[in-house]
């Protein structure tokens, strides 16, 4: 069995300012992308109607399609796809629905799928999505603080929780920025995206806990052996010890996800890409952001005490 021969723990801890800068830059860039190129909300959140149609034989022209459909509903938007079109309109009433579908049939368009979402349901989804994200973040913080409650020295257990949040924020914002880039290719913020965000939250904290765990274990070990070691060294040790595991785990996850991306159904492609981004961000943040932050806080606390 071979392993990763290089010991980068000390390097990371020593040069942590560089890694902070990289993280900050990524977060800033992602936020900028998100604000500048905010992806559209899907009809699941705004309400509206959507039809995905396939052309049989001859394809009707996009402009003609728009004109024809405008007679039945407002705000018709037609997007071309590989096999046909995606048609978005304001919500259709059941009566209009039948008319519309007949028209589509007339134009030789096969309806692959359709959705009509009333605006009030859309609003409810939005609220639920936000609440779910807030709830998960809160619960995770509490959980981390609880899981590390016995390790109060040299940094208190809440610090672990707080650092985990910082890593979480990084792991959420970076995929968000990435998704904004996808947005210019048509990706929308839909419920699947929210699911991806929540999955990333869970996964990221997973990763961070493994490293914190190594730190905790090392501290216990030192205490039992009555040895002393600088906190920097402890964290560096934890990073080295977790390196192989972190990289391999994200590799296997990425392998599974790439299989999904290249061979899986197209409806989940954006979902999968977001998850891949989150996996990479999560691994990066646990090793190069969360762990060094512990050291920074420790040094900060010490410098305050010595004043």
């Amino acid at each position: 069995m071979f392993g990763y021969k290089f010991k980068i723990g000390e390097l990371v801890v020593e040069k942590r300012k560089i890694f902070y800068f990289i993280s900050l830059a990524m977060v800033a860039l992602s936020l900028a992308l998100f604000l500048y190129k905010t992806p559209q909300l899907s009809i699941e959140f705004t309400g509206g109607s959507l039809y995905e149609v396939k052309c049989e034989k001859v394809c009707v022209q996009k402009t003609q399609l728009e004109a024809q459909l405008s007679r039945y509903v407002d705000s018709v938007k037609v997007i071309q796809t590989k096999q046909g079109y995606i048609i978005k309109t304001s919500p259709v009433t059941p009566q209009t629905k039948a008319q519309l579908e007949n028209k589509l049939q007339e134009l030789n368009l096969v309806i692959e799928r359709s959705s009509t979402i009333g605006p009030s349901i859309g609003q409810e989804m939005k609220s639920k999505a936000l609440l779910a994200i807030v709830a998960v973040v809160l619960l995770i913080v509490l959980f981390v603080a609880w899981a590390f409650r016995e390790v109060s020295k040299p940094v208190s257990s809440f610090v672990y929780g707080a650092v985990a949040i910082i890593a979480l924020v990084h792991d959420i914002v970076v995929p968000l920025g990435f998704y904004s880039v996808l947005g210019s290719f048509g990706a929308e913020i839909d419920t699947l995206f929210v699911v991806a965000m929540l999955a990333i939250l869970g996964y990221s904290v997973n990763d961070t806990i493994v490293i914190f765990d190594r730190v905790r274990e090392r501290l216990k070990q030192l205490k039992a052996l009555k040895q002393k070691e600088s906190f920097e060294k402890t964290v560096a040790y934890a990073i080295d010890a977790s390196l192989a595991r972190s990289i391999n785990t994200s590799l296997t996850t990425l392998l599974a996800l790439s299989a999904l991306y290249f061979f899986g159904p197209s409806v989940v492609k954006n979902f999968v890409l977001t998850l891949m981004m989150g996996t990479i961000a999560g691994t990066y943040s646990s090793l190069f952001l969360a762990a060094p932050l512990l050291v920074s806080y420790y040094n900060y606390k010490k410098s305050k005490e010595s004043k």
Binding site: A199, V210, T252, V268
Partner: protein, 419 residues
């Protein structure tokens, strides 16, 4: 029991369980239990209606809602394709609609949802309301749920009227008859209104208490109208009016494509992960591959057993969990490597590896489970599918990667050490 015996027993159990799981997952039972397919895989329609409960008195609410559900389910069953699912949902507490109720109808494999919408929409809403002093009508005291059957009849001749008009005679069920008797007894001389689909069609004066449990609805119907009304009422009258608020339909070809592609992606993902593990961890990697195969079969069998609904997102979640299931193995193997490097013997290294890694595995998986729980609450049935798959995947991976691996590795280690 000595360790060897214990391990042997567990091994036998594990083999039996895996054979069972394999048979279940891959359909070799004579009584075929199918995977439950979500709408986006089987194709079909989901219709969401909002229910207007404004004229239902508070104490009747739950009753009315379940009668509504039953009536609609009866109607939907007439379509006959696959198992429809009809249920009542309350608006979430975070929405503007928190006191509103919704009726959700899921019809897998249905070809034309418009038919279903029309049929549900055409179900008559019948209400009997008392007229109050101020001329307004009170809440409904009798609704569609009290009707046992309806029949086409012709009115009898009466002073000032010709007979032979088409009408509908309603027979109430026991509860309805009781209510009707009591109300007519207490309100002789007063007017009550018969409302069909929200419109007042007749407002007779109560001349005497009616104990027979029957009522006659006559309102200038043509023969066709009366016939249709009687028929519709027999299928079931809606106890409360509903209106379509959202609908989703997915064609079956798209659904099948999604299923096929997911299966293919799953196989390839499994192969890639196994390859990596074997290349990097050699023999341990081979063991991990077997554990992974076991895990896949085990989880698939659980899906069948618990009737977990498979959706596109759910299958993606399952494939994701295959990549993550290996995580516990990686953690354990890395620990064992460390122990071996520090000079411990194989057996001890394995023991220590497992016990040291367990804390991390437990904590890490717990946080993922928290996420799954919240997702479950959040969701539409599609997201619930993902959350359930995720949660089952995590729990199953803890069993296979930790417990099962430990047993197998231990027995192999003992075998090797005893040579």
């Amino acid at each position: 029991m000595s360790m060897n015996k214990k391990v042997k027993n567990v091994a036998i159990l594990a083999i039996l369980a895996s054979v069972f799981a394999g048979l279940l997952a891959f359909d070799f039972f004579y009584k075929k239990i199918d995977y439950k397919k979500g709408l986006d895989i089987s194709g079909g329609a989901q219709l969401v209606f909002s229910v207007d409960v404004s004229s239902i008195p508070q104490e009747d609410l739950q009753d009315t809602l379940s009668a509504l559900r039953d009536t609609v389910e009866r109607r939907v069953n007439l379509f006959g394709v696959g198992e429809p699912s009809v249920y009542i949902q309350k608006g979430s507490f975070v929405s503007q609609e928190k006191d509103k109720y919704r009726l959700v109808v899921e019809i897998p494999g249905v070809v034309d949802a418009n038919e279903a919408i029309k049929m549900i929409g055409e179900t008559p809403v019948l209400e009997f309301k008392m007229k109050k002093e101020n001329g307004e009508f009170d809440k409904a005291m009798i609704t569609g749920k009290h009707i046992k059957k309806a029949a086409l009849v012709f009115t009898q001749a009466a002073p000032g009227q010709f007979g032979g008009e088409p009408a509908v005679e309603i027979t109430f069920n026991k509860e309805g008859a009781e209510i009707f008797a009591n109300v007519t007894k207490e309100n002789v001389g007063k007017i009550f209104g018969i409302f069909l689909d929200g419109e007042l069609i007749s407002d007779p004066v109560i001349k005497e208490p009616i104990y027979g449990g029957k009522a006659l609805i006559s309102g200038n119907f043509t023969l066709e109208e009366a016939k249709k009304l009687a028929r519709e009422l027999n299928y079931g009258a809606l106890p409360a009016p509903v209106s379509l608020s959202s609908s989703q339909e997915i064609g079956a070809t798209l659904g099948k494509q999604i299923l096929d592609q997911s299966a293919k992606a799953g196989l390839i993902g499994f192969a890639l992960v196994s390859l990596f593990m074997i290349v990097y961890y050699r023999w341990f990697g081979l063991l991990a591959t077997f554990m992974l195969a076991y895990y896949v079969v085990f989880v698939l069998a659980l899906f069948k057993l618990f009737g977990v609904t498979l959706t596109a997102a759910g299958l993606a979640g399952f494939i994701l969990s295959v990549g993550m299931a290996v995580d516990a193995n990686v953690l354990i193997f890395e620990r064992i490597k460390e122990e071996l490097a520090s000079g411990k013997k194989l057996l001890e290294a394995i023991e220590n590896g497992f016990s040291r890694a367990w804390n991390s595995i437990r904590d890490a998986n717990l946080s993922s489970l928290i996420t799954a729980l919240i997702l479950f609450w959040f969701g539409t049935s599609i997201i619930e599918g993902f959350a359930l798959v995720f949660a089952i995947g995590i729990l199953a991976s803890m069993i296979t990667s930790v417990w099962l691996s430990k047993v197998v590795m231990h027995s192999f280690a003992e075998l090797i050490s005893n040579k």
